[in-house]
Symmetry: C2
């Protein structure tokens, strides 16, 4: 299957919610900077201690640091004291990359990553990206890239290692929660185009449901969304499903523009709280809800702007949320240009749901919770050299094998990691069906083919329980 679409945010930032346009009633930074950065209002906190240290280090340290290095170190050091993984310093190269991503395509693996507990962590692979195809999953921790440890690198440096020219392959060593062994996952990089809304329709009992999947909230997403929605409505739909599963977020104004189609004026769709605890409510100008039913699909990869959407749709619009509890990012960042084309990404606000909930590190619960089939969460089986999984073995890899076999319609008879006769028979059957020698032993070739088949099946959507439930709920009344 070809990669048919993808999103703008790659492997760099959780600038998921960036009020880039400064569209709120908060001070714009440019003004502040111009008015003199060390104004008379300053308290004792002048930078003289830092200046002394800077001069001492620059002029004397054996390591002979250059001025730029020290200054970037100082900025990074200040940001580290905030204990906030979403605030970061982007040097010239990173800033350029970010700006490119906000509007066009790029070459990489197509995964959103964040720094969690000092580990580069996958927030979500982008839909149909090489990262998704290779089986990367939310919360995977990337330990090494092509054998080089990421230890000690910041997020940007790590991302620079992961990215690269289309067609090249990168090997990620990944620690997956619940899996004891490190996984080595090869990903072939590709161009990740910026296209963020995908429209589809589904028929249920003679009724037509429109499905609008939003893969991220990019600059053009609200316009794409409106165009697709208008077309669906013109063609005639009886209900609408908005799918933000795996959507890591994006620009705040974008999600606001989308919400203006659905959330009526009488309740705030969002509250923004500043550092002093002052809250501001935001309202649409919409008179009435859509006349057709709408619900929203969410999962553990729905973060930030996706969570704003989910919170508003449910609490201010009264729409149902189907799926799993979301990621839990409740803060708003703004990027601010510094000198030398570098940028500061800084957490400025909390955002609250219409009811005033701060969902940070909690996420938003679905109103109708639905798990995907167990095999959606299976891991690729990675065998040691010459290792096979055979009769009477008992380990975690076999547990995973059994889940995969079951997902593919075979009958391993148990899923506890013990490879009994029935599991052996299921392995033989799978091997036979796929022109492999029917040994009943799983070697790496069999394991890889299992993974391929699982991915194919996940992607064909036949067992998408969450989507099925969303359709069922949509026309339930």
């Amino acid at each position: 299957m070809q990669i048919k679409k993808a999103t703008f945010v790659i492997a760099i930032i959780l600038a998921l919610v960036v009020g880039a346009g400064g569209s709120y009633a908060y001070t714009s930074y440019a003004g502040k900077e111009e008015s003199g950065s060390r104004s008379a209002s300053d308290d004792a906190g002048s930078l003289s201690e830092v200046e002394n240290a800077y001069e001492l280090i620059k002029d004397n340290a054996l390591a002979k640091p250059d001025a730029q290095q020290l200054q970037e170190g100082a900025i990074q050091g200040m940001l580290e004291t905030l204990d906030d993984p979403y605030s970061s310093f982007l040097d010239e190269e990173s800033s350029t990359q970010l700006n490119q991503q906000l509007e066009s395509s790029f070459e990489g693996i197509g995964a959103e990553v964040s720094m969690v507990d000092k580990q580069v962590t996958i927030v979500a692979p982008i839909k149909d990206s090489p990262a998704e195809e290779a089986g990367l999953r939310p919360n995977d921790q990337v330990l090494e890239v092509d054998g080089d440890s990421l230890q000690g690198l910041d997020l940007q440096e790590a991302v620079n290692k992961i990215r690269g020219e289309k067609g090249t392959t990168v090997t990620l060593s990944v620690k997956r929660p619940g899996v004891s062994e490190e996984l080595n996952i090869d990903v072939t990089r590709d161009e990740i185009p910026v296209e963020t809304v995908y429209a589809d329709t589904k028929e249920v009992d003679g009724k037509t449901a429109g499905v609008l999947e939003i893969t991220s909230f990019s600059e053009s997403t609200a316009k794409e969304f409106k165009t697709a929605l208008d077309k669906l409505e013109k063609d005639g739909i009886d209900g609408l499903i908005i799918d933000v599963r795996g959507n890591p977020g994006g620009i705040l104004t974008t999600v606001e523009d989308i919400l203006k189609n659905f959330v009526p004026r009488d309740k705030p769709y969002l509250q923004i709280e500043d550092k002093n605890g002052e809250k501001q409510e935001f309202f649409t100008k919409l008179d009435e809800k859509k006349e057709y039913p709408v619900n929203v699909l969410i999962d553990e990869g729905s973060a930030s702007a996706s969570e704003i959407l989910a919170g508003a749709m449910n609490q201010a619009g009264g729409y149902e949320l189907i799926g799993k509890t979301t990621f839990g990012k409740g803060t708003v960042q703004q990027t601010v240009p510094l000198q030398n084309d570098s940028m500061l990404k800084l957490t400025l606000y909390k955002w609250l749901t219409p009811n005033g909930d701060w969902i940070h590190e909690k996420g938003i619960k679905p109103t109708v919770e639905v798990d995907q089939p167990e095999y959606f969460y299976s891991s690729p089986i990675q065998l040691d050299e010459k290792e096979t999984l055979k009769f009477n073995d008992n380990n975690d890899k076999i547990k995973n094998l059994q889940i995969m076999l079951e997902g593919l319609g075979y009958e391993p008879s148990r899923k506890d990691g013990y490879l009994n006769e029935k599991t052996e028979t299921a392995v033989k059957q799978f091997q036979q069906d796929n022109d492999l020698k029917a040994t009943g032993e799983v070697d790496q070739e069999t394991a890889d083919l299992l993974q391929t088949k699982i991915i194919e099946q996940v992607r064909n959507g036949k067992h998408d329980n969450q989507m099925d439930k969303a359709l069922q709920e949509l026309f339930r009344s």
Copy 2:
């Protein structure tokens, strides 16, 4: 056994070699600071980018950082870019502690620690300190203190957690190289007095060897040393052993003053190389070597100033070095006071041996290599709840058990981790000899007593192979 002595450097710094007096021909900092820290000679490297970021963060970040926090973060961030574990920022509290340590006593566990690969690592426990008594060893990594992770703390913060009032107990979770399980080691804190030279004599074949052990190079150490040496010489010695095993270093001028007693004027005892590669040689005014033989005891805990001593004694003085390869710290730091009573400790120079070798991360090899008995390097056995080591078990803890039993004079018959009948018999024998029930199974009580006996035996010096060899070599000619 009582704690009878200890040294000044505790659990903070490797300010092992601090040219504190500014006794070299290098610029003094005070002068520079006063002449204006941002002088006209500056290149493009002004701090304006840092200032912008500072103002932005201070005025806007959701986390509401205070000025002091940001400035310290900035300084720490600059130091981190140097990639040098020996450069660090000491805040007011840490500076005060450091100054106290340089001259008086303090309350703690008595171990020298450093930050290695982002882990708080024991460089050496101080002689007869609670740390040594509890069995802490060079290269132990301290992961937790009283159950709190040290992850993310800097060295100073970690040390502040480890220290505390005399008589209180602190539990360190320790990762020891070569030991797969984490060890939990209880240390009862004590007052660690500042006394750094211990004199003794040993008789060998009718000859008298003076032994001067130097536990660190503190402010008063050279004077202490000279007094002790004069007394030994007055009483009459036929040779001298200088023991710097486990000595983590100290003040550069101190080791220089000691070397002036032994190294003749015709070869430099030390070279100092600045960041531009310019070298300066340092000479004593001594006409002749001592008329009696001298050698130096070193081991993997001999660091920094101890290595300067060893290098000079061997290469410029022609004295033998007995023991093991030293730690390998070849840089010189200077502390510089900043505002608010904080300090910067900054690596300024390399030091080179008389022959011009830079021993950083290599150490100094002994001329006569001697290992201590295997049991000197054994680890305390830590059992899981209800775990015992019994007949037919096979694991690393048993390997350690067998080494300890052998060290105590029992005969476990193997040291590969398999608990056979002979090892069981040895355990029974040990239990009998120590009024424990002779079960042949090792429970925590038996394990703890083994450890106590091992420590007693290490401390009584009966099997000190290195000392024995040093005495033998001393009078060999």
